[in-house]
Symmetry: C2
């Protein structure tokens, strides 16, 4: 068992990572505090793990809200069943919302916790690799809008994050790969040694080797926690975490939420950012090859969907949250482990990756 601390002053919280954490009642009870809790899960995860979590809530008033599964349901409307349960059950400001599931469940539950009675306690039990290394860390919560991903939301830090690495044993291969995209991202942003490690251990991760998985989660969370601690509200460097995301969000929104998994879109987006960095003269061709090779070994797509042409890509990218005063900002690479946020790029380099979807 490993515990990391996300250092945010009064809003600091621990991330505990290890096998069998779901059976640790003390950890859960300590993070709850009040005398009631509502678990939010989905129809895929609830049959697998809900009872084990509920078993720790004896003596507390509690209930569960089970949502349909999928990014397509991450809309403002999905909040209705959660708010209805909270109000019908007379859950007060001291209640705790527990997110049990992947990134979608975490984002929705976190936003409900941020806005119910203007903010209640919130606890994350992420059950997908993507949620464990990304969406459970950093306090970003929210839902999608038909015109843009994650456009409606709030910053709301959890009280604790509990990662049971054994939950990955029930994760479909496709979702494991999607999670690996975010893991690879941390290597690319500012941890070249971790990227090297991943090149040597990607097959162990695909085989769900417990030690390799625990190490990858811990190192990813540590990377993210450090960046978030330096810039909680994303006024600066935190935007680095969006490597691959401007392209990726465009793919997700353009193809219809849920068609591409978030991690798949980010994987492809990282390839596009890397290819653009090469066109820009900032990244070596050999580095792009290493990146593409690792993405391919992680079974991630590196070719953007043919359905999206350059004008559509541009349109979708123009609503990105990093756009400021009309200027598109992108996360690009000056090398593996050297990402930068910049609006100063050659438009031709962007054209290059948008108009030749099979580029590089």
């Amino acid at each position: 068992m490993k515990t990391l601390n996300v250092d945010l002053g009064a809003r600091s919280y621990p991330i505990t990572i290890g096998p069998g954490m779901l059976d640790d009642a003390d950890m859960l009870r300590e993070a709850i505090g009040g005398n009631s809790a509502v678990i939010v899960s989905n129809e895929t995860v609830a049959p697998l793990y809900l009872k084990r979590v509920e078993a720790h809530l004896k003596g507390l008033r509690h209930e569960a809200v089970v949502l349909p599964d999928g990014e397509a349901y991450k809309t403002l409307t999905i909040l209705d069943p959660i708010f209805n349960a909270l109000l019908k059950g007379h859950y007060d400001r001291n209640t705790t919302l527990i997110a049990l599931g992947g990134g979608v469940v975490g984002d929705i539950t976190g936003f409900a916790a941020a806005t119910y009675q203007r903010g209640v306690n919130f606890l994350q039990i992420p059950t997908t690799l993507l949620a464990q290394v990304d969406s459970s860390v950093g306090g970003k919560t929210g839902v999608n809008h038909p015109l843009g991903k994650n456009m409606i939301g709030a910053f709301h830090q959890p009280k604790a994050v509990i990662v049971d690495t054994e939950t990955l044993n029930t994760l479909p291969d496709r979702e494991l790969s999607a999670g690996l995209a975010e893991v690879i991202k941390y290597g690319l942003i500012n941890d070249a040694p971790f990227f090297d490690w991943l090149e040597h251990h990607i097959d162990d991760l695909l085989a769900r080797d417990p030690d390799a998985v625990t190490y990858a989660i811990e190192r990813s969370c540590a990377n993210k926690a450090q960046i978030v601690a330096a810039d909680e509200r994303e006024t600066g460097t935190r935007a680095l975490l969006n490597l691959g995301h401007t392209f990726g969000h465009a793919i997700e929104t353009g193809m219809g939420y849920g068609q591409w998994l978030h991690g798949e879109a980010v994987g492809c987006g990282m390839h596009m950012a890397a290819a653009m960095s090469v066109a820009q003269g900032w990244l070596e061709n050999g580095e792009l090859t290493r990146i593409d090779r690792l993405l391919a070994r992680a079974k991630l797509p590196v070719t953007p969907p043919l359905e999206l042409d350059a004008p559509r890509f541009r349109e979708l990218m123009s609503v990105d949250k990093k756009v400021l005063d009309g200027h598109l900002r992108l996360v690009l690479l000056h090398g593996i482990g050297r990402a930068v946020v910049t609006s100063e790029f050659d438009p031709a380099a962007l054209d290059f990756v948008l108009t030749r979807p099979d580029a590089a």
Copy 2:
């Protein structure tokens, strides 16, 4: 012109009060900062004042969203036209939302600003007395749920509040009275000299005497700003501002949003809190008489609706945001200017005001 500062560290902001403030372009432009703005108003206020505000936005990209008028529309759904306009117009994180209208417009616009791209700049131009003395100060934003008032929301401080006292000249009498309920509230909570002043000047206020109105707004905002500065997130004393609101919210929710104006319900709620305080032995009968007399002179109702019997009142009050771990907390009076938040009251005293709606 008077300027008050709400002291909240990095989130501090000025409230500027005076006649003709709507024509002060500099004040508005300074609070905007970025190069775009979206004004949110309603179909009653927009024909009166929208063009005057828009005239100051030359050179900025801007548009207006005009909502239907009334508390009945303050739901999650009302956010759709705002988010649609923001996303279709490609308004980015540097944009400013401007609330031009009463408390409902302010609450909705503030919540949209709190959640669009996880938070954008926000500016209030309140045009009703109630919004000028209450909802524009303190950063509470949100919408109603069919099961409870203001149950979904966020704390989000404005960048500035601009109060043009001349907007009160177009305010219907009924809404002026509703605003006076919140003004009287500040006297009751902890400003007995202001309560005395109100007893002497209530007729001037009803006549919209400019000096009296300006003074009442300024003193109300100063009272509220002081309480909010001491407890921004309502972990303690800020709950005092809810004097009359637990009863009032029950009336609003129980009668259907928009039937009673918020201020009317609060006025009646303050009578109920005062009557309960007398039953409790905390307030003198003579003080209750003074309170009821001032409410009546302000043309506010002091009799709860006969449609709501005691069991229904209790049910509605049980979802109040001040309920903690099952205990109802109320704001009661130990005297005029001496309000307390307490769960330690005699249930018989509560029975007394709920079962005898014509009490006192």
